[in-house]
Symmetry: C2
Subunit: 402 residues, 2 copies
């Protein structure tokens, strides 16, 4: 892998490379291989290993400062979604040095300006199988001042190249494989059931103002369904046996495939509701094991029960892919059928029994709802509009799953 | 459509646009709409309507000269594969004015140099549903000196944007819909059964030397299968009823989808053998109706009978998508099952009964074989190597289909 990476860098004319990663991964083979290769080939580089898992505006700024000072002509991001997203932001603001941080942040928190400056090449090397960030033009962070997740979204920040090497996934603990796999599962389900691109409003008056998340469309649908089939076939195997290279390779590809899909179509309620869940949880023991994927999937039975009335055929179709027998199911049952299928899927994988297992109780619902409301960027892509009462009911229904 | 096209051009900073098309289409709505929009918005442009259907090196050179003189900063190609391919070549050589024509032409006929110069933006607007050229980095032409089809292949010449507007397909005569649909059918079947990317040799030592056609791979497979499903569902409807917007829209997308697939994976024997078929035919009455698609599909039953022993499961899978009942079929029968399915499919669409219906007889087989031999660019992507005797037998088996 590292030889190709090096040649690609040379083909891009890179003379001074920024390698971004996190402190943990910096000691592990995926980063060490790249480092050795850069050293051996006399390519000038600097390492930034200060990436924060679940980045914030503060951690983005730190990486941006590093990038500005370094005046790099290419970037390599080795890690999970946090690393790739941080690197996208660093590349963007170092290429647009006179911009304020909020210029490119999604409205209404930021100004959501279109990116018109040219960026440097960025090669993304994912080491988890979940975010698909190597394929998307999105960089997500916690905006600490408002205690809200938001992001930067523009196809201009999409990595030039993704090196999807399954060997990087063999070191992942089972819990990380499961939780990042749930992220893939929800990327696929949410993008496939998102509001169709031609029903989204407002329709931008100029193509350059099209949002990164355009609603479901004939291209994203293909990726969503295909990724879902892989999840159905391989996720359990990938979780249970770290040596199952076929399963782990397939999930690594599924992560990229679902990324191509949701990176165009968008996600909706599971993701919108996940941000306060992972932001507010204090007590959960496994917080280090990619809480994002878990926060996303725990509401999925409730969410798809709620959304199914809009596109029941799609909900039934995905239930069937995940193993349900839908021969006698009516479209009216679509939500319940998919929800039951998801519960069984999560139960088989020993997933915690709902938000209560993360330490949440009914008393937390108002804050969870409050934390969801600013996530309009994604929640408005849901096929069905939600009132605050709807959101309360969805959180309540997600307290226990089984 | 034309408003988006215009805004996209403006977003690209276009000040002097080259509009390429052919003389027939220049009078028709797809081109007229673009023209009116350019005029109305005061964008400086020149029209080149000298595109030759089935382009040659001579016709490419003519368009290249036009492009060089015009010093354009953006291109719009409105038409079928011939127009889009001509425009790709014009953009390439006008952007690389000191190159010899053969520099970028595929080896061994040309030098096959990698493209390292930056090209101008090119927006491709397909008006037929077959070539998928709006999605590929390939431009095919007849090299008249050697009487052989060859091309230029580099992702650098891939259009910046494709505007796949189904309304452009409603004017197509049924025969053109059928023949261009056969091109889609074969793009899907050939790319899905092409030699896998990791079995192709030689493996390039540097990623920049990767050929445009890399062999079948997990990404091209998705597009091939999906395009095939659409062909199975919609081609007959699209041929039979010009008003069937759903069917014609679906085939227009299928053309682009299959293009994304084969543009990465490549095609093999049906295409390799088609070039002498369409090049040598003199008498066929419907030559004007996209003979390419017909030349491609007439050998398909013989070709897939021949190739099936290598990847029989894929041959059975595609037969099932096209309507075969494969429950009792063995992998040994895979080729025959797919061939029978294709024959039935072609019979249902009133396709001419084999190469003999195009005026060919056994006596022509040596010249057809001779014309196929230089097509190594594609024939070596077949999953099974072919001797001259094999090629003779394939042409002979394609003389009559039913």
């Amino acid at each position: 892998m590292s030889d190709f990476l090096l040649q690609d860098l040379q083909n891009m004319g890179a003379k001074k490379v920024c390698l971004m990663t996190d402190r943990n991964l910096a000691q592990l083979p995926p980063v060490q291989t790249v480092l050795n290769s850069l050293v051996r080939n006399n390519i000038s580089f600097q390492v930034y290993d200060g990436v924060r898992v679940e980045p914030t505006d503060g951690s983005f700024m730190d990486a941006i400062e590093f990038a500005k000072k370094g005046a790099f002509d290419a970037y390599v991001a080795v890690g999970g979604g946090s690393t790739m997203d941080t690197c996208k932001a660093a590349n963007l603001y170092a290429s647009s040095p006179h911009s304020e941080f909020l210029d490119y942040v999604n409205a209404p928190i930021g100004k959501g300006k279109p990116v018109t400056v040219p960026l440097k090449p960025l090669i993304a090397v994912p080491t988890t199988s979940g975010t698909g960030s190597e394929t998307t033009g999105v960089a997500i962070f916690d905006y600490e001042h408002l205690k809200v997740k938001t992001g930067i979204a523009s196809r201009a920040i999409k990595p030039t190249l993704g090196l999807v090497d399954p060997l990087h996934t063999l070191h992942m603990p089972c819990q990380v494989v499961a939780n990042s796999g749930f992220d893939v599962l929800c990327h696929a389900l949410e993008s496939y059931t998102a509001i169709p691109y031609n029903m989204r409003s407002p329709c931008p008056s100029n193509p350059i103002q099209r949002p990164a998340y355009q609603g479901s469309n004939p291209i994203s649908d293909i990726w969503a369904v295909h990724a879902l089939r892989i999840v159905a076939k391989y996720l359990k195997r990938a979780v249970r046996n770290p040596e199952d290279l076929e399963a782990r390779s397939s999930m690594h590809l599924a992560s990229a495939f679902a990324g191509i899909g949701f990176g165009n179509a968008g996600v909706h309620l599971c993701h919108g509701m996940s941000y306060p869940i992972s932001g507010l949880v204090k007590t959960y023991k496994a917080k280090e094991y990619n809480p994002h994927g878990l926060s996303v999937v725990l509401t999925s039975p409730a969410v798809f029960t709620f959304t199914a009335q809009m596109f029941p055929e799609r909900h039934l179709e995905t239930a069937e892919i995940l193993g349900a027998d839908i021969r006698t199911a009516s479209t009216q049952d679509a939500g319940l059928v998919l929800a039951d299928t998801l519960r069984q899927f999560l139960f088989d994988l020993n997933v915690d029994d709902g938000l209560s297992a993360l330490g949440y109780s009914k008393d937390d619902i108002p804050s969870l709802v409050k934390g969801t409301l600013p996530q309009e960027r994604v929640t408005k892509l849901a096929p069905r509009a939600q009132s605050e009462e709807d959101l309360s009911a969805l959180f309540e229904a997600s307290m226990k799953l089984y």
